[in-house]
Every structure is written in C-alpha cells, then in structure tokens.
C-alpha cells in the first residue's frame, strides 16, 4: 500500500511541486538575505549627514550615478530601438542578420571590465572626452546596448501581425506602419526594457573605473557632460578596498543606498509597465 502511494501520480505531483518550490526559494531567499544583511549592518551607518552632506556624504555620488544612468539611457535608447526596429521590421533573414545576432550575443558576454578598458581607449583617449560623465555614459551605453536591443525586439514582436497588416493594407509604407502602429504599441515594453537595462548599468563599477568616476573631487557635482563625477558603485568599491578608516557600517550603508537606487529604478519600470499595459489591450 505504501509502495503504491509513493509511485502514484499524486505523489509525483507533490514531489514536482516541492522541487519547484525549492527552485523558487533558491532565487528569492538569497535576495532577501542580502537585503536583510545590508539593512541590519548598514542601518546604523545611515544618517542625515551621510546621505545629504555634500562634503562627507553620498549625495554627490547619488547625483553622479543618476546623471550617468540618465545619459546612458539617452544614448542607448535611440541606438538600441533603431537597431531593434531594423532587426524586427526590416531585415530579411540572411548572412548580415546572422552576423548582427552573433555580434549581439557576444557583446552581451563580454566582461564589463573589458568595456571599461575599451571605453578608456576609445572615448577617453581617442575621442578625447577625458575621464568624464560622457565617456562613462558612452561606455555604459555600449554595455547595455545588447540588452536594450533584445528587450526592444521582444516588445516589437509582441505587437500583433494583424495590426501591421491593417496598416499596410491601407496603403501605409513600412516606415509609416512602424511609426504609426508598431512603435506606439511596443513603447511600454521598450521603456520597461530600457529602464531594467540601465538599472543594471547603475550598479556597474568596472566600466566607469577608468572612464568617469573619481573618489573625491573639488567640484563634487558634474558641471557638464565633460565633467568628472562621483558614482555610488565606485565610491563603494574604493571604500571597501583602498580607503582607510571607513567604519564598516558606513560601507554597509553605502551598499544599501546603491541597492535602493537600483531597486528603485526597477520598481519604476514595473509600475510603468503595469500602467501602460492596462492602457492598451488588444
């Protein structure tokens, strides 16, 4: 009787569910764990001064990161969306498209420190942007481009074919169809993808290590896109590895602020997606 129970379909289902729960927990628990550790260790280090003091606080680094992320989005969005529109709406399968796809996959696999060195060589030195907000944003834009392209392509693909056909059958050109029907309907997905991609860039250290970030500056806020900046991940990196006499709880508090900024961006993306999705249903 017990043997039959173990091998029955209900038992199999129970085992399968258990495994799925374990898998889900394996994803969720570490995130919660990391957050908990940071809150516990860092909460004591959080203070008004740490957050908002320009000289000793994190405000310039938060501002620097926000500037960096915004500029990254501004650079990556037009390039990424244009590439996605080309791939999804215009390109016919062939060697060129295959080459582009292989490049994208490989680009996505390049370690971020390589992007940093590439950015140093191209943007900082060859193009003479200097170690600056612009050089850092360009480097990060390259890093997130594959993500932006694939997210945008996915969003474009979600637009039903029959809407494209309706537009073409009315005598619209391909471009009129893209502009009038496809892009507006793909926009929620594109924006969400963009925010999620740049929120990843917000936490990157290596690409801005040689291209944009400083640990302390005479002018703590960037004055132009060619200005030098402070950035949260770099701040944390230096605090954790080089700077002497930084209390542990300040390091943890900095980490907490960084994570909050990144999660905040993700939250914006999630809320935006939910809202825009509700607005258009087909």
């Amino acid at each position: 009787m017990s043997a039959r129970r173990i091998s029955g379909p209900r038992a199999t289902q129970a085992v399968a569910f258990l495994l799925l729960w374990v898998a889900a927990a394996a994803v969720v628990l570490p995130v919660l764990g990391i957050l908990a550790v940071m809150v516990v260790r860092g909460a004591g280090g959080l203070s008004w001064g740490l957050l908002f003091s320009v000289r000793e606080g994190l405000l310039p680094a938060v501002v620097g990161t926000v500037c960096l992320v915004t500029l990254t989005a501004l650079i990556a969005a037009p390039l990424g969306v244009a590439a996605a529109v080309y791939l999804s709406e215009y390109a016919r399968p062939g060697p060129l498209v295959r080459l582009i796809r292989v490049s994208l996959v490989n680009l996505a696999g390049v370690p971020s420190v390589v992007y940093g060195l590439f950015g140093l060589a191209l943007f900082v030195m060859v193009l003479r942007f200097g170690r600056s907000l612009l050089a850092g944003a360009c480097t990060l834009a390259l890093l997130v481009l594959p993500l932006v392209i694939s997210a945008s392509e996915e969003a474009l693909r979600q637009v039903p074919r029959r809407l494209r056909e309706a537009s073409l059958a009315l005598g619209a050109s391909r471009w009129q169809t893209v502009r009038g029907v496809v892009l507006p309907n793909a926009l929620p997905g594109i924006i969400t993808g963009l925010i999620l991609s740049v929120s990843r860039a917000a936490g990157e250290t290596a690409p801005i290590l040689f291209t944009a970030a400083f640990f302390s500056l005479t002018h703590p806020f960037p004055r132009s896109v060619f200005g030098e900046i402070l950035a949260l991940p770099y701040q944390l990196f230096v605090m954790a590895t080089e700077a002497p006499n930084v209390p542990a709880e300040v390091k943890w508090a900095t980490a907490l602020v960084l994570v909050v900024v990144v999660l905040g961006l993700n939250l914006v993306a999630i809320v935006l997606r939910a809202r825009l999705r509700r607005a258009r249903r087909w």
Binding site: R162, L163, A169
Partner: protein
C-alpha cells in the same frame, strides 16, 4: 473547360491570367484566370486551405509582405498590370482595400482608426477629416452607434462593431475595390447579418471580392461565385448556376455539403 469559367457581363474591374502563388516550394494557387465584374459582389468559396485567401491577397499585393511568398502570372486592375515596375504599391492598396478575417482595429480611438488612412496620404484639415470620418462611418452603418464615442478606444466596441469600423477605415481612403477575407467568420449571426446587409449596400459603389467558407453567405449576397479546390479555380459563374446547376462534380459535392 470553357463552360466552367465564364466571363461576367458588364465592366471588368480585375482580371487575373494564369496567376499562381508559391510559398517556398508549395504552390498555393495554381494558374487561376478569372475576371471579376465591377460593382458586384463576387464570392470565392472552397474548403480551408484551398488557396482562396492567398488568391485574394494577390489582388492588393499583400502577399508581398509574407516571407518566401511569390507569385507568377498577371493581375490586371482596370486593364493595367499591378506588377508594373512604376506602380506604387501604396497607391494600389489604397484603391484595393482589404477587410480581414478577424476585426483588427488599432488600439486607438474610433475617430483615429478611421482617420488613420487619410492622415497617411496627406494632411487633411480638421473639418475635411471630420467629414471623411463621418461619411465613412455612415457608409459602414456604424455612425449612429458610435457618434457619441468617437474618442473612446475602438477596442471597447463589440466584435461586429469593430468589423464595421474596419470597413469604415478602409472606406475612408476611398478605394474602388473591397477585398473581404471571411469578414464575418468570427461574428455571431446578428452581426453577420448586418455585415451582409452592408456588403450588398456597398456593392452599388464598390467592387467586392468576398472570400468565405460559408456557402449560404455566398449564395445570399453574391452575384458571381468561384469555387476553389487545392489551389485551382474549379468553376466560376453566376451564383445561382454554381449553387443550382454546377457543371463540375466536385463543385456539386461541395455546395451540397458532401465535403469541406
């Protein structure tokens, strides 16, 4: 053969000569020659996959959009080939409008749906556009139902209303020909009836080619009927003849409901 494919009386709007359609290696339409009369409804019937929709999509070159699709043979619109190099496909599609199987309004307002076509082809003034929208909606027998909700999303309309909106959207670009690809197959009987009424009404002004696998619909609304089977045009003639005195045994079997 000759008695099975007739030439209709009166003016001919569209004529195809040995028109074949291929998807890759598959020949979906096989050397179809047919003449479609102006300002009449011509129905194309046949079981699923018989090539009638593929044939229809050749008439406004919507097959061009499908990857790997190509066609051979000729399509003449008012005596002129639609494959000529200097022909503007956008202009062709304006003249030969299409209504699809499932209503496909854009996720925008009722007004913007109808105005979409006119806006593509120029910058109509506010008043001219209002007038076009109203005229098109009236012609599609939808005006009275939507005149108070022109700014609402088209997706809030019922299925039948959506399909009539799609017809209004096509009428707004002032075509000569309406290609209708099973326009009521997703609708309930009442909505279907309204679409059929509308088609009969529109046939006074427009040349309508109706693909349907509802034989009763074909017999109710059309003047001429063509029967397709496995990519071939088996028989073409007056609808009464096709349904009451079919010459070909396969047509006879199909219209009597012995297969399909």
């Amino acid at each position: 053969m000759a008695e099975r494919v007739i030439t209709p009386e009166g003016e001919i709007k569209i004529e195809t000569r040995d028109l074949s359609v291929y998807y890759g290696d598959f020949e979906a339409v096989k050397e179809v020659s047919i003449a479609l009369p102006s300002r009449r409804i011509t129905a194309l019937i046949g079981p699923s996959g018989c090539g009638k929709s593929s044939f229809l999509r050749c008439l406004n070159r919507m097959n061009d959009v499908i990857l790997g699709a190509r066609s051979e043979g000729e399509v003449l619109l008012d005596g002129r080939s639609i494959h000529e190099a200097d022909l503007d496909v956008a202009q062709l599609r304006r003249r030969v409008g299409m209504v699809f199987q499932s209503a496909n309004p854009f996720p925008m307002s009722v007004y913007d749906n109808v105005a979409y076509g006119p806006r593509l082809h120029g910058k109509p003034g506010r008043e001219a556009l209002d007038e076009t929208v109203e005229r098109s909606l009236r012609a599609a027998a939808l005006w009275d139902e939507v005149k108070d909700k022109l700014r609402q999303s088209a997706l809030e309309l019922s299925g039948g209303q959506q399909q009539r909106l799609c017809i209004a959207r096509v009428l707004a670009v002032e075509p000569d020909v309406l290609l209708m690809d099973e326009p009521s197959s997703a609708l309930d009987p009442t909505a279907t009836f309204r679409i059929e009424e509308l088609m009969v009404e529109l046939a006074q002004q427009y040349t309508i080619v109706l693909v349907t696998h509802n034989m009763y619909q074909a017999s109710r609304v059309s003047r001429y009927t063509g029967f397709f089977l496995l990519g071939e045009l088996i028989e073409y003639g007056l609808t009464v003849d096709i349904f009451e005195h079919p010459q070909d045994r396969r047509t006879d079997d199909y219209v009597r409901g012995r297969f399909g």
